[in-house]
Amino acid sequence: MQSDIKRLSLILLFAPFALWIALLIILPHMGMVVLSLREKVAPRVYEFGFGNYIDFINEPIYWNTLLRTGSMSILVTFLALLIGFPIAYYIAKIAGKRSRGALFLLCLIPLWVSDLIRAFGWILLLRETGVISSFLTDIGLIDQPIEFLYNDITVVIGLVYTVILFMIVPLVSTLDGMDNAMIEAGYNLGGNGFTVLRRIIVPYAMPGIVSGCIVVFMMTAGSYLTPILLGGKNSSWFTEQIYDQFITRFNWESGAAFGFLLLAFTSIVVWIGLRLTGQTLANTVAKS
């Protein structure tokens, strides 16, 4: 009797999760796979084949875009780590107990505004008639207005800005769990600042670093709004290709294949990253 109730409550608790996984993740992806493996031979006539994937390989612009998206996402991830780590370290280890909460809140504030509005904020600042350009003309540093938008640097800056919070949060929580005495012990035993960072702080924070990097990389590679708005039509982001196939060309088969390729590509990058850092997914996700 008791065990029946236990089992029932387990099933009830587990049901929403199972439904979510099955209906929103497994089912659509299976649909995508099936869709991507159909070739259009005539209007409303389809047959099974790898044609959509072969198209991808034969058309350099497609896989170039994917590689470009991947490498720029890695760059964004790296920059987010480089900028986020000192911030997280300051919040977790240097700031006093009371200012810690306030600083963390300050990091969260941009999240209250939607992605779209934040991207338009950047546009206001960076466009030819925008704040920075007119300021520079006003003080006479440049002769004519400059267009800061629609180039790769702007896209990278915008993406780093959008995702950095997701780097800071796991880093703060891992660094917070680190006993200050461990850092002091590192110095006490003769290490200088660099040794302590390299041999003690970074290895300790590794689970947080890796989980932050995974989240940031996945978000960047899958982002759509920021690259389109800040990079313009020429941003060549892979999600844009997928959107194009689905919406503009109405070629769902090809779009599904691209979507699946993006998932496979990012998963491989994450897997390589985990192997290189010697971490496991369970280890990083469970710790942070």
Binding site: D179, A181, M182, E184, A185, G186, Y187, N188, L189, G190, G191, N192, T195, R199, I200, P203, Y204, M206
Partner: protein, 376 residues
């Protein structure tokens, strides 16, 4: 290096650590107030005090994590005030040990050697050697979380000792252990100190740790050293009322001196008990002075009031046993005196018919020499 300095005892500084007039102020708080001491080579020195007395601040200054507001710290005769913590040859065992969880035992011990650029073969040899000395030769490849509490303790000490420090600081490292292990580690620490023959400075609020292990103990209170001495000196000849109350158990009264005759003081407590003291410590104790009176329970004998023996001690009073606190060889009775206060006295509980029981009328007696008075 000049070999003469190694052999000539006159050129070797006699003290491993010397602190003179150390002050440390945090804002308006005086954490350490004019502390001076010298620690001879190879001794076990403890700093004992209640929490918040400034002992951890003092230790952090010796390690270099805090700078004293004024005063000087010398290690082996050289001032280290301008030496950063990673360049001082003072190693520290932290309260929670601070072993590096992402490294195994070997790497934890090798970390310091790698920092100073020791070559690989030498590191191997030294790590192996220090593991032998702490009697854990086979744990080099274990992860930290696989070790027991006592093993972690020893690894934390080995990690410091492999660096061959001038002084080893220990910040209450036994606090996290359970009672049985703590008792065992006390003895082990003392043995390790003998074996390495390095100066140990041990910080604790647990008096039994300090008394059992140390050659010398400094009692610290509110940022000051109250007294420095051998453990038995502190116990038997406390110089201040704080030391008398902090080290060991005592019956304590506040009172006033009513008469002084020769070396003996008549004192009367606030509740009206009258006793004689032959040990007044501090200046200005004369008739009418306010004093604190301490008598240790082991110097009070309690016998049944009905027994025929008569006492020879200067102080004697009648009371009734309130309760018996049985604790094997350390058993005590709580006796309610005529003024209504409780007095603790050590008793031997044999389990026989002559044992004291609650409600028995008893006579307490103690000598004037064991009645200590301090100017209040």
């Amino acid at each position: 290096m000049n070999t003469a300095t190694l052999t000539d005892p006159a050129l070797e500084p006699a003290f491993d650590l010397e602190c003179s007039n150390i002050h440390k102020r945090f804002g308006s708080v005086q954490a350490v107030d004019d502390v001076s001491f010298k620690i001879p080579k190879g001794s076990f020195f403890s700093i004992l005090g209640p929490s918040g007395c400034g002992k951890t601040t003092l230790m952090r200054m010796i390690a270099g994590f805090e700078d004293p507001t004024s005063g000087d710290i010398q290690i082996k005769g050289k001032s280290v005030l301008n030496t950063p913590p990673n360049k001082r040859n003072v190693k520290m065992v932290f309260q929670h040990l601070a072993l590096f969880p992402m490294m195994n035992v070997y790497e934890n011990i090798a970390y310091g050697l790698r920092c100073i650029g020791t070559d690989k073969a030498e590191i191997d040899r030294k790590v192996k050697d220090v593991l032998e000395r702490i009697a854990l030769p086979d744990v080099a490849d274990r992860e930290i979380h696989q070790l027991s509490g006592g093993q972690k303790q020893r690894i934390a000490i080995a990690r410091c000792m492999v660096m061959d420090p001038d002084v080893l600081l220990l910040d209450e490292p036994l606090g996290a252990l359970d009672l049985k292990l703590r008792e065992a580690m006390k003895i082990e620490l003392k043995l390790l100190q003998h074996q390495f023959n390095t100066t140990f400075i041990y910080i604790t609020h647990d008096q039994s740790e300090a008394l059992v292990m140390s050659d010398h103990v400094a009692i610290m209170n509110e940022g000051r050293f109250e007294q420095i001495g051998r453990p038995e000196d502190l116990y038997h000849n406390p110089q201040t009322s704080f030391v008398a109350g902090f080290v060991g158990d005592s019956n304590r009264w506040s009172g006033r001196v009513t008469a002084v005759e020769g070396g003996e003081y008549r004192v009367e407590t606030e509740a009206g008990l009258v006793m004689t003291s032959a040990r007044a410590v501090g200046q200005g104790i004369s008739t009418g002075a306010a004093v604190s009176i301490f008598v240790r329970p082991e110097f009070i004998t309690a016998r049944k009031a009905s027994s025929a023996q008569s006492g020879t001690a200067e102080n004697e009073l009648q009371g009734r046993v309130d309760s018996v606190l049985f604790n094997g060889a350390n058993s005590r009775v709580l006796v309610r005196d005529p003024a209504g206060e409780l007095i603790e006295a050590d008793v031997v509980v044999t389990g026989g018919a002559e044992d004291l029981r609650a409600g028995d009328a008893v006579t307490l007696e103690w000598s004037a020499a064991q009645t200590m008075c301090f100017a209040a």
